[in-house]
Subunit: 354 residues, 2 copies
């Protein structure tokens, strides 16, 4: 019996979605693939509320995070760091030897535009990196206001929405997001192995002037193949087929607003449970709709909790990195239902002795 | 009805192998994944005849080609260019601004160690790039001799075996290959979305001294996670499951020697057919065991041939790049059988009016 995954990705994949991956193989330079590619990109645009280019990458989401650094940073990058994944993005910029500065925010909190407005207006920076949904802390940054600030100061706005896109409404064009990065294995409810990025004309233009972009993550190379509804090298066809099928379900069966509402309701139920019993790491104003980070305020042995839950058919998520043992996480994303979540919270009560 | 793919990748995936991709999802930071990862790597080592580290990447093979450039080239790269894919590798080095030189060889031919011995002995170069099996021309480079030449001159030997590994015996350690790059969707008979690279201690050591390696393709970051039977970011779990299952079939059901023999026999049958009817682009001494490149010596309308074959349930491969229209290719790799190949050659006779 497969165990239910309550970890923040990869998530459980519904049987009908998973079945699409086993279909007979097709060539990626033929008509059938071009149609699949075009349809997938078009539906992703609807989901992301954008007219920007959307690239499908044979990579994990980290790949497109790296691409944002490679293609956009020339003068200096400003990274908002409020958890392990935003820290990793900062590390990527440093690893490429890019001029870079970090604005550190308390883990469990998020940044507000006014906190970095002066910096962005200084003319020192050409790229801003924000992690919309910090999977390590359950903090979701409200994105309003950053777009205008960036556009006004010739700064490219890059947003990691790896664990929020498809669970939370993110209106890319309205928010002025130049580069959005996401992947299949979280709120999309599709297997890992495919990541997607939406790139604005401004970011594509910037890319042209940035030196040493290599080839694998070069936006300009993707752009060439995008015109043919294709990718520069062989794409992960099974995941694209599953995503195509799942996007139809998301857009036309469940509906976007219903999907966002379901995620919000699961988040509210989880936060209400956590606050009553243990407390949340995350500040109230920036609680994530897709993953919650719960304080281990009773000093429970989380490895023992994990083992008990495993016996009950659940995969438990301990805290991430430095937060391991001190917090644990509950993912409520993808095709997860309120009923499944309620059952898990009961199982948690039992395992934690609450 | 699914059409049979006679293109050089992606290839048809056997039903039982494809079915593994739809299995319930597992987390990549849990024990089940670590076991899967360890077993897959161990079996890949057997297949590659190597004790080197083997990394599993969420990328196409092009990703690991890029990694070889990023991690190994510091002083100057020497690229052997004898077709479209070796040309692409050369392009990757240039795109990263690496000092680079190309040795051009006639398309359809290959390089011999003595042709580049003087260059390698000059002390100018620190990395050599060879495409073992040029998918665009059907030329397979005999690899004997390059390893010693490279080791003696402190040159890292990088070999693209994307379309030959698992169909042809390549004894990585005996041949002295420092970096070998391959992917699932060709001779392995597994879906695209996963690529593998075997990296020697010498190459890992070199990597440490090369500046600006970023993070996504940094061998040192992979090495850290390799110690835990894991990957730096989320791996393509469905393809790894399918590869694990297929490796057991390859090693324990068919057997390596039988698999290599089957590929060789299919290649001989194809070359014999081609020579009798149209001629081969590739020189005799370097004909590939996995893909043949046939001259369109009768000036057939290859797009019409493609359409006819499609009606008969086959996907035909035209020539690649500049060779389109002038040549076409027949892939005989993966789980393809001699019976299926014979039927295809008959269908080709008919479609070409031979």
């Amino acid at each position: 019996m497969a165990k239910k995954l309550f970890i923040p990705g990869p998530v459980d994949v519904s049987g009908d979605v998973a079945a699409k991956m086993s279909e007979p193989m097709i060539g990626h330079r033929g008509k059938a693939y071009a149609e699949l590619h075009a349809r997938t990109v078009e539906n992703l645009r609807k989901l992301m509320y954008t007219k920007n280019k959307v690239f499908l990458g044979a990579c994990s989401s980290s790949g497109w995070m790296e691409a944002a650094v490679i293609n956009c940073v020339s003068k200096k990058a400003l990274h908002v760091v409020n958890g392990a994944f935003s820290e990793r993005w900062h590390k990527i910029s440093k690893a490429w030897g890019k001029p870079v500065e970090a604005v550190s925010v308390q883990w469990g909190s998020a940044v507000k535009p006014e906190q970095i407005a002066d910096k962005l207006k200084s003319g020192q920076y050409d790229t801003l990196f924000i992690t919309h949904n910090e999977t390590s802390t359950g903090a979701m940054t409200p994105l309003e206001g950053f777009g205008k600030l960036c556009a006004d100061n010739n700064v490219i706005l890059c947003v990691d929405a790896v664990s929020s896109m498809a669970g939370v409404k993110i209106e890319v064009d309205k928010l002025g997001i130049d580069v959005l990065v996401t992947g299949t294995q979280k709120c999309f409810g599709v297997a890992p192995g495919l990541a997607m990025t939406a790139v604005s004309d401004r970011a594509l233009e910037r890319s042209k002037s940035v030196q040493s972009r290599g080839l694998y993550f070069d936006y300009q190379d993707y752009l060439k193949y995008d015109a043919k509804n294709n990718t520069p090298s062989t794409p992960p066809i099974p995941q694209i087929k599953a995503l195509d099928y799942q996007l139809d379900k998301i857009l036309n069966k469940e509906g976007l607003e219903n999907r966002f509402k379901r995620h919000r309701q699961m988040a509210e139920a989880t936060r209400s449970w956590a606050k009553k019993k243990l407390g949340l790491l995350t500040e109230d104003w920036c609680g994530s709709d897709t993953v919650s980070c719960v304080k281990n305020s009773i000093n429970a042995d989380l490895e023992a909790v994990k083992a008990k839950l495993s016996d009950n058919g659940y995969i438990f998520a301990n805290g991430y990195g430095d937060l391991k043992g001190k917090t644990f996480r509950i993912a409520h994303m993808g095709d997860r239902t309120m009923e499944e979540l309620s059952a898990y919270l009961k199982a948690l009560d039992e395992a934690l002795g609450l």
